[in-house]
Structure formats: structure tokens, C-alpha cells
């Protein structure tokens, strides 16, 4: 073994072994929330769904209103009687003098600017949704929120679910399946209930508080990305500039997957042209597709795969800009 091998090995060992069991925050093993799809499972379960729906439709309708607070009807704002969340943002609001979110390269710097006391993660993130700017977030935090409008902004789980249903228009994503909130950040699993019981997670969305300072518990939550595991969106890279025709690729683990890619602007409008579906499958298999893009500003690339039990069984997002 050479000196450089030894140096790399010992440095990694020293860094890794600085933490021990007692340093980890208390946590239980995650409970089952995803559903393995064997080759025979989709048709079998699809038939089960049809039978179950036919037999129990009346019961389901009667019980719909009794569903828990994390379940929303497609396109509806969670915990709110207002219209779809994207229409409730105070777009065009006058700049707020007390907000200190500088703009760099035409993009809003947020969450960890030097003028915004740095949270523990010491990072910048690009706001994707629901607030298109800090002014909008500040408007809700100081005016609209206290007046009772759209209280779902205060809850990362509700915001994540509203992103899937209201912004991405994924009507089959109806449930929050996991929730990890740590300080200024949240990782929220969204998906749907399986007919056989249990939950299926389609994506884990990453959100941060859209605040000018750390510890601002009144600030609303903002989606900034997704945590990809078995379905990844690797290119374009986070917040990279997009050319008129964009190459989108990643990796997928699954059976008979059918990947669809679209690009949306911050208003939720699809700004990508016709894109062929990408057949894929296997373990950690690469996939790629070329996507024509006509929008401008901050854009969200979304890739999803499904068709067995639901249209959107796995999805991933990536923030980019023109």
C-alpha cells in the first residue's frame, strides 16, 4: 500500500469514526411505506382494485370526509378553504423593506446568505414553490398568514402535498407518507394508500423555511428539491442553465418502468414540448431523454414513472433556470 492510499484511508477513518452511536439523534427504524412490485403484482392488484372499488364504493364515499388531515382531494389546498395554492400567492407584491433576500445572477439568494444569518446547513437553495420570491413569502408570513389565509404554508407536509397535487397536478398523490423535520429543513414523503393496506411513497420532497433568519418559526415552507433514492434525476444538475433542448437523465430501479419528463415554470405551466416516454427497468439502470424547453426564469424539471398501480408511482424534481 502506498503512502497516498494510507493517507486517504486513515483520513476517512478519522472523519467517519468521529461520530458514534451515542452521537446519533434518537430514531426508530422507518416503517413500511413503499410497495414492492413483483412482475405479477400489477395486473393482480389492478384487478383487486377494480373489485374493491366496485364492492365498497359506497363505503369509501361515505368515509371520504372522515379521512385524516394529511389526505387532500386532488388539486385542493390542504387545511384551507381557498382555491388551489398556486393562485393564492401574492404575486406582484411590492418589495418588502424588512426582507433582506438579495438577488444574485437574477436569482433570489435565500436561506443562508451572509446577510441572512446562516442556518446549520450553510447552504443556498433555490425556491421553487409555492413562493416565487422572498417578497411573496414575507407577504404571507406578515400579512396573509396572520389574517388566516392559506395556513398550509406553515406546515411542510401540507406544502409538500400541495406541491404534488396543485403544482405538479399529480391527482393520485393523496397522502403524506413520512415526515422528517429538522430545524429549518423538512423531508416529506408523499404518495398514496395501497389497496392492500399500507402506504406507497412516490417521492421525498425537500423543503426549507423561506425565512430571512434562522429560527423564524412563523415563516412558510418552500419546496427546493427531492431526495432521490431508487428513481433519480441526475441531469440537468441543480439550478443549471437550460438550453432550448435539454438532456434529462438519471437512474431507476424498477420493473417495466415508463418514464415521463415535463418542465414547468413557477406558475405551474408546462413549458416543455412533446417528449417521448422512456421505457426503462432493472436495478439502478440509466435512462435519458431530450426535452425541448420554451419557458424562462426558474423552472422545475419533473420526471415520473408509473402505470402499474398509479400514474405517478415514483417521481423526482430538479430546479433549473434559463
Amino acid at each position: 500500500m502506498s503512502d497516498i492510499d494510507d493517507r486517504i484511508r486513515t483520513a476517512l477513518t478519522a472523519a467517519a469514526t468521529q461520530i458514534d452511536e451515542r452521537d446519533l439523534r434518537p430514531a426508530a427504524a422507518p416503517t413500511r411505506r413503499r410497495f414492492h412490485q413483483a412482475r405479477w403484482a400489477p395486473p393482480l392488484l389492478a384487478a383487486a382494485v377494480v373489485a374493491a372499488v366496485a364492492i365498497t364504493a359506497g363505503v369509501l364515499i361515505a368515509s371520504r370526509d372522515a379521512a385524516g388531515p394529511s389526505r387532500v382531494r386532488p388539486g385542493a389546498s390542504p387545511n384551507s378553504t381557498s382555491t388551489a395554492p398556486i393562485t393564492t400567492v401574492a404575486t406582484g407584491a411590492a418589495p418588502v423593506s424588512t426582507g433582506r433576500m438579495p438577488v444574485k445572477n437574477g436569482l433570489t439568494c435565500s436561506f443562508a446568505d451572509i446577510s441572512c444569518p446562516t442556518p446549520s446547513n450553510s447552504l443556498y437553495y433555490q425556491p421553487l414553490w409555492p413562493f416565487a420570491s422572498y417578497a411573496e413569502a414575507h407577504q404571507w408570513e406578515t400579512v396573509d398568514g396572520p389574517a388566516g389565509r392559506d395556513p398550509w404554508h406553515a406546515d411542510p407536509a401540507s406544502t409538500a402535498l400541495a406541491f404534488a397535487t396543485g403544482y405538479l397536478k399529480f391527482a393520485d398523490i393523496t397522502t403524506v407518507t413520512s415526515r422528517t423535520v429538522t430545524g429549518e429543513q423538512a423531508h416529506i414523503g408523499v404518495g398514496y394508500a395501497l389497496p392492500t393496506g399500507g402506504m406507497h411513497t412516490a417521492a421525498v420532497l425537500h423543503l426549507v423555511r423561506y425565512a430571512a433568519k434562522v429560527g423564524d418559526a412563523a415563516a412558510g415552507w418552500e419546496v427546493v428539491g427531492s431526495d432521490d433514492t431508487t428513481f433519480t434525476l441526475d441531469r440537468p444538475t441543480y439550478l443549471s442553465p437550460v438550453p432550448p433542448t435539454l438532456t434529462v437523465d438519471g437512474r431507476v430501479t424498477g420493473v417495466d418502468e415508463n418514464i415521463v419528463v415535463a418542465v414547468r415554470n413557477q406558475a405551474g405551466t408546462v413549458v416543455s414540448g412533446a417528449v417521448p416516454r422512456v421505457p426503462a427497468g432493472g436495478t439502478n439502470s440509466p435512462w435519458a431523454v431530450r426535452v425541448p424547453v420554451s419557458g424562462s426564469g426558474v423552472l422545475t424539471v419533473v420526471a415520473y414513472t408509473g402505470g402499474h398501480l398509479s400514474q405517478h408511482e415514483q417521481f423526482a424534481i430538479q430546479g433549473v433556470h434559463t
Binding site: 492510499d5 468521529q18 450553510s122
Partner: protein
């Protein structure tokens, strides 16, 4: 399917025995403990989905490792862009090395700093090789790349670190 264990029991068992290892692996890829714990937690959650396709504990651990690497890469993508948008001297974002870098010797800090400057793929290969002690074929399987790509990434990453360390000594 892992014999004699349903996913709840199996994941719970693996969580007890491998959580620290997965957090440590993530820590070497994302550099802060809080995020590393999140990444590891998501990996164990994903394990439920693949449980019936995993033939042994070893296969489950290999799958966990892949999830940790992919999850870490997802985090790094956002960080990389964040740094690109820090345009002034005052905006320089300092992501801490592993937790408590001050506790590490100078020689380790230099190596870790050089490691962080590598492309993601090279860093992943070196971490899996030198920390996880995986073979080239195991690394290839974990990352979903060829053995040849593992070899070239390891060689380039190792050479780049050596060059950086050599440059610092001049």
C-alpha cells in the same frame, strides 16, 4: 426474500446493526451529520420497498449502500449549485468537513479537503474503496457503473488528491 424475516422485523434488525455505518458513509459524502442521518434514514425507508427482492442480509446492506450514495449525490447536486451562486467574497459558503473538523489532525483535514474537491463519482469511488473496503466489482454494482469506470475513477481521484497534497507541500 430474506428467509424468515418480514420487512418490518428485517429492517428493524438492519437498522440496529447498520445505521451507524450508513450514517458514517453518508457523512463522508455529504460532510454534515444532520444531513447524513437524514440520508441514512431514507435509505432504510427505501429498503421496505425492495425487501422481497433481497436474498440475504448482505444484499440488503448493498442496497442500503446504493441508496445512501444516491441520496448523498442528490444532496450534493444542490450544494454544488448553491456554491456557484455565491458570487462575492462575503458569500463564500463554508460547508464543514466531517463533524468537528477541528478535532482532526492537519494531515487528515488536507486529505479530506482534497477529497471534497473531486468530482462526485471519484469521491464516491474512493470512499467506497478506502472506507467501506469494497472490491472494484462491489463498487461497480453499488454505483451502477462498469468495473473499468471504477478503476479509472479511483486512479484519477487518487492522482488528483496526491497532486493537491503535493502542491500544498511546495
Amino acid at each position: 426474500m430474506i428467509a424468515g424475516a418480514d420487512s418490518a422485523v428485517g429492517v428493524e434488525s438492519l437498522f440496529r446493526t447498520h445505521r451507524l455505518a450508513m450514517v458514517r458513509l453518508a457523512l463522508l459524502l455529504v460532510d454534515d451529520r444532520e444531513t447524513a442521518e437524514d440520508v441514512a434514514q431514507e435509505a432504510f425507508a427505501a429498503l421496505h420497498r425492495r425487501w422481497n427482492a433481497l436474498s440475504s442480509d448482505a444484499a440488503a446492506v448493498a442496497y442500503l449502500r446504493t441508496c445512501v450514495v444516491n441520496g448523498s449525490r442528490s444532496i450534493l447536486r444542490r450544494r454544488r449549485t448553491a456554491r456557484l451562486h455565491a458570487t462575492t467574497a462575503n458569500d463564500v459558503v463554508t460547508v464543514p468537513a466531517a463533524d468537528g473538523p477541528a478535532l482532526l489532525g492537519e494531515e487528515h483535514r488536507e486529505v479530506l479537503a482534497a477529497l471534497r474537491r473531486l468530482p462526485a463519482r471519484q469521491r464516491e469511488v474512493l470512499v467506497l474503496r478506502y472506507w467501506s473496503e469494497l472490491t472494484e466489482s462491489q463498487i461497480a454494482q453499488t454505483l451502477g457503473i462498469s468495473v473499468g469506470a471504477v478503476k479509472s475513477s479511483a486512479s484519477r481521484g487518487r492522482d488528483a488528491i496526491a497532486a493537491q497534497l503535493e502542491g500544498q507541500q511546495r
